[in-house]
Symmetry: C2
Subunit: 239 residues, 2 copies
DNA sequence: ATCCGTCTTGCAGGATCCCGCAAATTTTCT
DNA sequence: AGAAAATTTGCGGGATCCTGCAAGACGGAT
């Protein structure tokens, strides 16, 4: 068995290396890459079927890397190992995992044992292992209780990118009014209607405010924005 | 000499601990805190005059912590040790450093030697040490060549928070039109006027787009937003 | 003092955004 | 199939945003 580690931070990389060695004695070789691009390349060359991947790397995003790896070999097992459980990350991951693939999502704050257990479960037993904190988010985002519809999430990304109502309508094949409907739902759910002061006027710009509170609530983050921007550029090219 | 380490990540914390021990043999005691709040408390109790501080911690921001520490004891020496050199961080730091204080800004990607040298320079020699990458940003942001005026940065934060033109005017004691002038300068500098397609209409919503490209350019980031939101709440309270 | 550049302010108008209302369409459920 | 619920769409109007034009205000330099 070969294991590929894709991780920015040298300290974390060597810690992971050590953890893999000790949790998987049957592993003959541990490869290391320090960004998404190098990770994709190594995975291709070595046909690695076992990857530990950091999200949030400077050069190339972990999610991007995972997507191309899975596109080439959908049975690859990937353990995502991240600092944060932002909803943006969780959504990003579950959007790209191929049907039936074994993967995991473990926080860096998890204990040694938890990490090692996850390594064995995913790489040996082909099970999915998702940290409880992350799992909670997943369910909340699916259960429509307080979560967001995919279509709402779409418009959220679109206004975060700075698109016009009209532009969104074109991109999503909707009428202007429908876009605005979705926006209203979004504003409702993000609870953006609070007046600035109890006194009188002076409110928020709903559109901009929505993006802000989405950020503060971790529905959005830098890498989600980065991905969205890339997708937008892609779409623009086809017009 | 006592040194206080404020850092989220256990791995980085112990690495720092080791680096301090080896670079500063005259240091008798190394204290550790795992978030900003605990850091402030320890600094107060131990009157630590030497701090190594991570920015970007989950519980309480490194910049916030540094601000309160410096407010209580302005001669404290603080070395900021961060993953990123976002302009948002650099601006945030230089906004709070007291006149004449010795501080440093070193990236986590720097070599062992660089870190140790910085530790000695700041804590022993009371010099300011700022990584070249960071320094570059500082100068660019000051030299008005391509950088942003403080007033432009202010409106940027304000629209990022989702404030109305009118609200910004009140907050900054300006007329409506002046705010809009600043916004125009901002749009100009952020180069937000590009049409979406070469063909015809369908452009960006300038206001939202400006915030986005500011994010992508690292002029803004999560912690800057967090701080701005707190300041806004504070201001709202005084109305 | 005068000149010059920068910053500020007002006004006006066109574009966009936000939203209530209501009809048409699709989806879901029985 | 038929009814109920949700979604989509059009229209219209009020609020906000973006901008050109032009007149003061302030400060520094000659």
């Amino acid at each position: 068995m070969k294991v590929l580690i894709v991780e920015d931070d040298p300290l974390h990389r060597s810690y992971l290396h050590e953890a893999v060695r000790s949790a998987l004695p049957e592993c003959e070789q541990v490869l290391e890459a320090e960004n998404g691009g190098a990770g994709e390349k190594l995975a291709r060359e070595n046909k690695s079927a076992h990857v530990v991947m950091d999200l949030q790397m400077s050069a190339r995003n972990g999610i991007e890397a995972a997507r191309t790896i899975w596109k080439e070999r959908p049975d690859t097992r990937i353990l995502f190992w991240s600092n944060y459980a932002d909803e943006a990350y969780v959504r990003g991951v579950s959007r790209i995992v191929p049907p039936g693939a074994a993967y995991g999502y473990v926080l860096k704050s998890a204990s040694d044992d938890r990490l090692k257990l996850a390594l064995r479960s995913i790489f040996i037993e082909s099970q999915c292992v998702i940290d409880r904190e992350v799992r909670g988010l997943q369910q909340k985002s699916l259960g429509h209780a307080n979560g967001f519809t995919d279509s709402e999430y779409e418009v959220l990304m679109d206004i975060a990118l700075g698109l016009t109502d009209r532009a969104i309508a074109k991109r999503r094949n909707l009428s202007l009014r429908s876009v605005q409907n979705r926006l209203q739902q979004l504003y409702e759910k993000l609870d953006v209607y609070q007046p600035m002061t109890d006194s009188e006027e002076s409110r928020f710009n709903l559109r901009a405010r929505a993006v802000t509170v989405a950020f503060l609530r971790k529905l959005l983050n830098y890498s989600a924005l980065e991905r969205a921007e890339a997708e937008l550029a892609e779409w623009l090219a086809t017009r």
